[in-house]
Every structure is written in structure tokens, then in C-alpha cells.
Amino acid sequence: MSFPWAKNYEPQQPLMKWLDEKLPLPRLVYNAVGAGYPVPRNLNYFWNFGVLAGAALAIQIITGIVLAMHYAANAGVAFDSVEHIMRDVNAGWFIRYAHMNGASMFFIVVYLHIFRGLYYGSYKAPREMVWLLGVVIFLLMMATAFMGYVLPWGQMSFWGAQVITGFFSAIPVVGEPIRVWLLGGFAPDDAALNRFFSLHYLLPFVIAGVVILHIWALHIPGSSNPTGIEVKDEQDTVPFHPYYTAKDGFGLGVFLLLFVALTFFSPNLLGHADNYIPANPLSTPAHIVPEWYFWPFYAILRAFTFNFLWIDAKLWGVIAMFASIALLFFLPWLDSSPVKSSTYRPLYRKFFWVLVVDVLILGYCGKSPAEQPYVIMSQLAAAYYFAHFLIILPIVSRIERPAPMPNSITEAVLAKHADKSSASATA
């Protein structure tokens, strides 16, 4: 669906006409990301991150397919094959560092994309499905990145696999059999490495599929915008092409600059040195930490050090960690305020920033060793995380008095410009 004033695709050349009759692929592109897709005229740069995430996925798939041509998924040689990529394969170091840092860049843009949604209320009706599919993508990304990190078969790979599959052993009764089933053994070994490689190759394509659904669901109501006011008529929109192709193109350029700066100048900045030590099943590194993008969740996992009710600490930790993500599925119904954008939600806006700080604290605790004061810090921060979604948000959305809102996107835009011109007039 689109707005009634969307431009219609009319092929001119005979070849394009012929193609349009047989397989209307250019029409699909025209209506999805071309001149045939009207978009609110006031999107800011936070609306770039979806396209950037797509670019990051493409980079992961391309570099990943190349890596897979040189990599060997066998516990005896996996580590050496990655070193072979680094030292012997032509430009292998570049491809591998691009894949490694590409994963980090992917998570950076996805986190910004998610927090954009939280700030501007993009998860609310009529875009709940877009949000739900987004959470699914996030989960798939986490599974993919985890399994990818196991492939080089260094110390962190091995112990990451051991600890993360250990989550499942927390499930009462069937937990241990499930863990053994997942690993195909009693500890991570060949069987686990091979299946992780198989799934690590598959999941990105599943992600690509869900991304298509995500965009399909988005294109039904169309993009939201920084005011959160829905599009009312034609003057609220501009065609995606050339306006947002240009804006996204610029953003992509900036993204790629940061990406290559990281890849060329500091490729191991976000990694962990212990992963350059071959896996040793008999010795755990003194301080195991997951990749940075898992730190906040790891902190929630470790926040439970005591048994509570009839459930033991270990199971609590695992439940809390999964719940912290599963919560996001319920977000559209936890926040009942009809106002989307934080711009007009003075109270919610404050709590939004507290949440951002809270997640950063969790991240910091997740990276720190399991000792005081980090344990108590992660306990408080984890408690606040849940309180934000389960207590604060429902209450705020009931008691808050929203700021006065403009009647339309155009009015908001014109008011902003009027401010600016009057400001410059007085200056």
C-alpha cells in the first residue's frame, strides 16, 4: 500500500515495458525505494540506520562467503585455518578484519536503530509488526554472531560456546540433555563447531528474509517521523528517490569511513586478545567476557547470585537474560500513550535517557569481573531495566501530560523554519 498521491511506475523503453509485463521487478523497486514511495519530508539522520543495517548485512554476507572459501570447520585445524587466512591468503587479513569489525559495526547501527525506535515511539500502532519483526532480527543476529565467534576456535570461542550452551542446562530436568544435544557431545568439539558453521552460514540469509518482511510491514503505514504525527496529505511527504536515496547515501559514506578507519587502524580494538590463543578445553581464561554487544545481557545474567523463591540463581539468571529481550516484544502494549515522539513527551523523555545510561552501566558491568562493586551495580541496573519497562513506562504513559503538538508534519516543519528565520533576522 502507499499514499494515493504516490507516483506511478510508467516504463518508457520497450525493453522495460516488456520486462514490466513479465516480471515487474523494476516496478517493485520503484515503489519500494524509488520515486513511487512517498516518505515524510522531515526525517532526520536517525532514520539512516535501517539502511545502514542493511548495508552491514550485505557486507557480512559478502565477506563471510569469501572467508568460508578458506576456512575449515574442524576442531583440529580451525584455528590454523583462520591464521592461514590472516597470513597466507591474498588480502585475507582484510577480508577477515572486515568481517570481524563488520559484526561490531552491524551491532552499533542496530542498537542506534533500536534506540531511535524507543525515543520516537516507532513501535506503536500502526507499526507494531515492524517492531516485532525487528526484535526477531535482533535475536537472529545475536545467534549468528555468537556462532560466528566460535568459528576461529580460540580460547574465547571455546569458552563462549561452553558458557552459552550452559544456559540451557539451567532448565530443570531436560536441561542437561538439551545441552548435550545442542553440542553433539559433552563439551564443545568437532560436532559443535561443524553445526555452528552450518548455522552461521544459514542464519544471515534467514535474517535477509525477515528483513524483507520487516520492510514490507513498514511500507504498509509508511515510515514514522520525528514528530510522530502521521502523514496527512501530499505536502507532508517527498518521494524516497532522490531525497532519501541522497540522504542515505551520505550517511552510508560516513558509516563506511568509520568502518574502514576501525578496520585499518585498530582492527582488534573491540576484540579480545585471548581469542588468539588456541582453544584449550582444560583451562578457562582467567576473565571470560563475551563480545561487547552482549555485555549488558551478560551483566543481567550474572546479576543473580542468590536463590530466590524456589528457583535457583542459575535459572534466574538465564530467565532474566532472555526476559530482558523478550520484554521488547510486549513494548507496544506496555506503553499506552497515544503520543509517539519523545519531543512531545517531557516525562517519558527523561526516563528514556535514564534507560540509556542504565544500559551503558549494565554494559560496563558485563565487561568487568564478577566481583564487587560490579555485582551490586549490575543487580541495581538490572532491576531498573525491568522496572523501566514493567512499572515506569505504564505509569508514565498514564499520568503524563504531553506538550502541545502541531497539527501536521508540514506545520511542524514550517514552524521550525519560522523560528530559524526570525532568529537570524534578530541576529
Binding site: V180, W181, G185, A191, P281, L282, F304
Partner: protein, 212 residues
């Protein structure tokens, strides 16, 4: 009467079919045709439909079994399941690390002090109550043989090798998330729910133990 009923219970397929029929006569004809063999409102076609779909469902479910089961440990992984260890060189107070089914195993020769410490603890204080005697073989209480796999998330606890920290209770300490085990390798503090697992083993002789 029958037709009215069917219209209400709604068989969309049939209704759609009927509505495209051009004239009434034809409509009657197809009606009779569809109803051929009808007894008590059940059509032969319904029966065939249910039977075929159920059969296919059972078939599909049967195929899932091998697809799920292939993930379980294969025969060669299971074949590694017994290991012999010579314990003659382990002095009192020392421990060694070996491996069984690719998992680390701690064999520890407890000192009399460590044994006394373990026996002193009231069972009520324990998260996973077990006596040292229950965790060792009769007459060989000084030989504490456990998996070196933390029951929290599976790291290898420290304390087997010389100079490694042994935690607040003198047994083992898991640095991953801070679990402390006592001299009977029982969980005392931290997130782990269970004592370190005692694998199945036997003394083949006074100095040789077979695990598995």
C-alpha cells in the same frame, strides 16, 4: 433444509463453486454430484481428505525424529567414554587434572585437615546437601574425584594446580562468575546450583582408577 444448513455452516469452496454456475438447472446438477455418497452429513471426500492429511502428518513427524536425533552425540563421541588414570604420584594435598569425554576431571588427594573440614559442615548449611562419604568410595575418602566443570555455566574452576586460588572454602574457585566450592567440591557460595559432579568410577587397583 439441508441446503440452508450447509450455507450456514459455510463450506466456502462449494459456495464459491456454486455461485459461478450460470443457471439454476446446472446448480442443482452439481449439487447432487457433490453430495454423491453422502450419509449422515459426512462425505466420502471428507474421509479421504482427513485420512490422507493425517497419514502425511504422521510421515512428516516420523522424519523429524532422525533429523533431531542426528544432533545427539555420535558413536565415536560416546566411544571415548572411559579413561584410566594412574594416581600413584599424587601426594596428599595435591591434585591433578585429566580428561574424560573431553571434559576436565579433577583427582584430588585430600589432607586429613581437608577431610575434617568437609565433615565438620552441617548438611543443613549446604545448597546441595551431600556428605564427603557420599561423594567418595568407602575406605578411600581421601580420593576426591570430580568433573572440573563448574555446575553454573561450565567453566573449569581453579584450585587443582599448584598455586591456584581455592576460594573461600579451600576447595575450588570458579572465576567466571564467582562460585566457591569446599574441600568436598560442594557448592558453598556463588551462582552454581550443584556440587561438582562425581563421575562414575572404580578403583581397578590401589593406584589405578577407571572413570566411565
Amino acid at each position: 433444509m439441508r441446503r440452508v444448513l450447509r450455507a450456514q455452516t459455510g463450506r466456502p469452496g462449494i459456495r464459491a463453486n456454486l455461485s459461478v454456475q450460470p443457471c439454476k438447472g446446472n446448480r442443482m446438477a452439481s449439487e447432487t454430484n457433490l453430495n454423491a455418497g453422502i450419509e449422515d452429513g459426512v462425505r466420502r471426500r471428507d474421509f479421504i481428505n482427513i485420512a490422507a492429511v493425517s497419514f502425511a502428518g504422521v510421515g512428516a513427524a516420523a522424519v523429524v525424529l532422525p533429523l533431531v536425533n542426528q544432533m545427539n552425540p555420535s558413536a565415536d563421541v560416546l566411544a571415548l567414554s572411559s579413561t584410566e588414570i594412574d594416581i600413584s604420584a599424587i601426594q596428599s594435598g595435591q591434585a591433578i587434572k585429566t580428561s574424560w569425554r573431553k571434559q576436565p576431571v579433577f583427582v584430588r588427594n585430600l589432607t586429613p585437615v581437608e577431610i575434617a573440614e568437609a565433615n565438620k559442615v552441617p548438611l543443613g548449611d549446604l545448597r546441595d546437601p551431600q556428605t564427603l562419604a557420599e561423594r567418595t568410595k568407602t575406605g578411600k575418602e581421601n580420593w576426591l574425584i570430580t568433573l572440573g566443570v563448574c555446575t553454573h555455566l561450565g567453566c573449569v574452576p581453579l584450585g587443582a594446580a599448584e598455586g591456584e586460588p581455592r576460594g573461600d572454602f579451600g576447595g575450588y574457585f570458579c572465576p567466571c562468575h564467582g562460585s566457591h566450592y569446599d574441600t568436598a567440591a560442594r557448592i558453598r557460595k556463588g551462582p552454581a546450583p550443584k556440587n561438582l559432579t562425581v563421575p562414575p568410577y572404580d578403583f581397578t587397583s590401589d593406584t589405578v582408577v577407571t572413570i566411565g
